[in-house]
């Protein structure tokens, strides 16, 4: 168990360090001078040079990387070139929109997908299964931003139940804020739920063929109990793997969905920053998202050990 944990932890850390190098290197090769950007086109060459020195842009590459990476560790992402405020402040402002959005979507997708997977697996080949999996097949094919547009048309333009976009802020109250996150969350969640339901179904079907399922049934355990207690638990590994991958997908998906709904989240921040060449913001947000993905995958790896005790004893 300890060996397994240590190996996963080491891999996660190495990946994180390598990722930070890639992010730094990619944004380093981009044309465009941040100092020139901040001072505008009318600044003299001397002024630009002075600011470059102040910003540490003339230091050797390795030194600049180390400085930047050390900053990341203390959550110091530097100052935005265009807003002239610390990047972390921008992130803090935006993450309170994106994180709830991604989490609501993740929860929605799970609570839809697992029951559908169970339903389909236990009625394999029958009408209910065919309909549910047909719907899932359809759901996988739907681009979330198009689905979002359709939801806006139906619920905001036609039925006028929810706002078509924008975010009142949490200060306006929890309910109005949640209400404006509802459609984006559904748009993100349903296509993901379709994938998850398919995975859950096939994992469950695989498990339901196992001998221990027959044994549990033979000793008189009710089908429902077998399904929930034995089958679901053993089918969790592929489901957890997909959940972990989906978290990365949801985080990235928020970029486009936030653009559809005009939500002031991390996705819009990074998108605007890319367009404004505010690279330090891009670097910071991308690193944060990458770190989140790595952390989630680590948690998934560790949860394998909880779900499957065999992994604990196996060295």
């Amino acid at each position: 168990m300890t060996a397994y944990l240590l190996k996963r932890l080491t891999i996660a850390l190495v990946t994180l360090v390598l990722a930070s190098m890639v992010v730094f290197a990619v944004l380093e090769v981009i044309p465009g001078d941040p100092a020139r950007l901040m001072l505008g086109m009318n600044a003299s060459a001397d002024q630009v040079e002075l600011l470059r020195n102040q910003m540490g842009l003339n230091a050797p590459l390795a030194l600049r990387y180390l400085h930047w990476a050390a900053g990341l560790l203390s959550l110091d992402f530097g100052r935005s070139y265009t807003y002239s405020v610390p990047v972390i402040d921008l992130v803090r402002e935006r993450i309170i929109v994106s994180l709830p959005l991604a989490l609501i979507a993740l929860v929605l997708s799970t609570v839809i997908a697992i029951p559908v997977g169970l339903f389909s697996a236990s009625r394999r080949g029958r009408a209910g299964d065919t309909i549910a999996m047909g719907a899932a097949q359809f759901g996988v094919a739907v681009p979330n931003f198009w689905f979002a547009l359709m939801l806006i048309y139906l619920f905001a333009v036609w039925l006028r139940l929810v706002p078509a976009g924008g975010f009142p802020g949490w200060s306006a109250g929890v309910w109005p804020a949640l209400k404006s996150l509802l459609l984006p969350a559904i748009a993100l969640a349903l296509p993901q739920a379709a994938i998850l339901a398919r995975v859950a179904r096939s994992a469950l079907i695989e498990v339901l063929h196992e001998d221990y399922i027959r044994t549990a049934r033979a000793k008189g355990m009710p089908y429902r109990a077998v399904l929930w207690r034995h089958a679901l638990r053993n089918a969790m590994i592929p489901v957890l793997t997909i959940l972990g991958l989906q978290f990365a997908f949801l985080l990235a998906g928020t970029i486009i969905i936030e653009n559809v709904f005009y939500l002031p989240g991390l996705g819009r921040l990074v998108f605007q920053a890319i367009n404004q060449r505010d690279l330090i913001v891009v670097e910071g947000v991308v690193m944060l998202l990458v770190a989140a993905v790595i952390a989630v995958n680590l948690v998934v790896d560790l949860s394998y050990a909880i779900v499957d005790p065999r992994l604990r004893s196996r060295q």
């Binding site: 190495v14 094919a141 681009p143 198009w146």
Partner: protein
């Protein structure tokens, strides 16, 4: 010495017979062929010229003259969808090509070598998977400039680890088999064995993964051109059409409806095709435990 093959030698006829009774495959094949045909026909004929703006006809609802209506410049949406199919197919197909072309040799090499080469490849895979694909694709296209070529590269890069992983896993399952041992005993090297024995045996897996990545590529391309980083106007693309539709949802909902349906139908067709191929060519016996 007798060689033992678990995989029954299937004749083309028996595979075709199975294909014609497989509902997923048939539906998927018909849809995919239809989309491809529409893209090809668009080179020769479209109902209207997609580069010609007819302001007098702007934002008209679906009618006999314009089946799917017109956009804010009076262009025929059906014609634009037809031409847009070329772009979607080209981007996704080349991106799959990049993924296979680089990923499969890498995966096969890692499986053949094992040891440090294998470990290095897996860690490299972890690294690429740590970047949310869409976010990185947006970054790449934003940095190196929007356009179809950069969209292809951005999507293609993220196909590489997927194919590397599938090829590696498939190859690792084939290597311990007796016929590989026989080939080694006959004096064949790892490269020759990989080309002559491993690749043909994992071709099915790669084909199925290929249809999945093709479908994902179409979705990714639509996402990129929706945020303005894919194919540039006046070249019609499905994602761009949805972007144009967004601010006109109230007056012209058909502008959003039909391009989106085109994406859904295409992706659905490819996914069904992939499921069908997996059903037909991948009998349960191969998923031994």
């Amino acid at each position: 010495m007798t060689l033992h093959f678990d995989i029954p030698e299937e004749t083309l006829a028996s595979i075709l017979a199975k294909a014609f009774t497989n509902r997923s495959f048939l539906t998927g094949f018909v849809i995919t062929a239809l989309v491809a045909a529409v893209a090809i026909v668009s080179y020769i004929w479209t109902p209207y010229d997609v580069t010609k703006l007819v302001i007098a006809d702007k934002t008209q609802g679906p009618s006999l003259a314009h089946w799917f209506g017109t956009d804010h410049f009076g262009r025929d949406i059906l014609s634009m969808i037809m031409v847009g199919a070329r772009n979607s197919i080209a981007v996704a197909l080349v991106a799959v090509g990049i993924g296979m072309g680089v990923g499969v040799p890498l995966g096969a090499f890692a499986a053949a070598r094992g040891g440090i080469a294998d470990e290095a490849l897996m860690r490299l895979n972890d690294l690429v998977f740590a970047f949310p694909a869409l976010l990185s694709a947006i970054m790449i296209t934003a940095i190196f400039g929007p356009g179809a070529i950069n969209a292809i590269i951005a999507i293609g890069i993220f196909n590489i680890p997927v194919f590397a992983r599938v090829a590696r896993a498939g190859a690792l399952a084939i290597w311990p088999r007796e016929f590989i041992l026989a080939a080694r005993a006959a004096g064949k090297g790892a490269t020759l064995i990989t080309i002559e024995h491993i690749l043909p045996n994992i071709a099915t897996l790669l084909l199925v993964q290929g249809t999945i990545q093709f479908a994902l590529g179409i979705l990714a391309e639509a996402g990129l051109s929706y945020v303005g980083l894919g194919a540039q106007p006046p070249m019609p693309s499905w994602g761009r059409m949805l972007f144009d539709a967004q601010t006109r949802m109230v007056v012209a909902p058909w502008m959003a409806l039909f391009p989106g349906m085109a994406i859904v139908v295409t992706v659905l067709g490819l996914n069904l095709l992939g499921d069908g191929i997996a059903d037909i060519l991948d009998p349960k016996s191969r998923r031994q435990r």
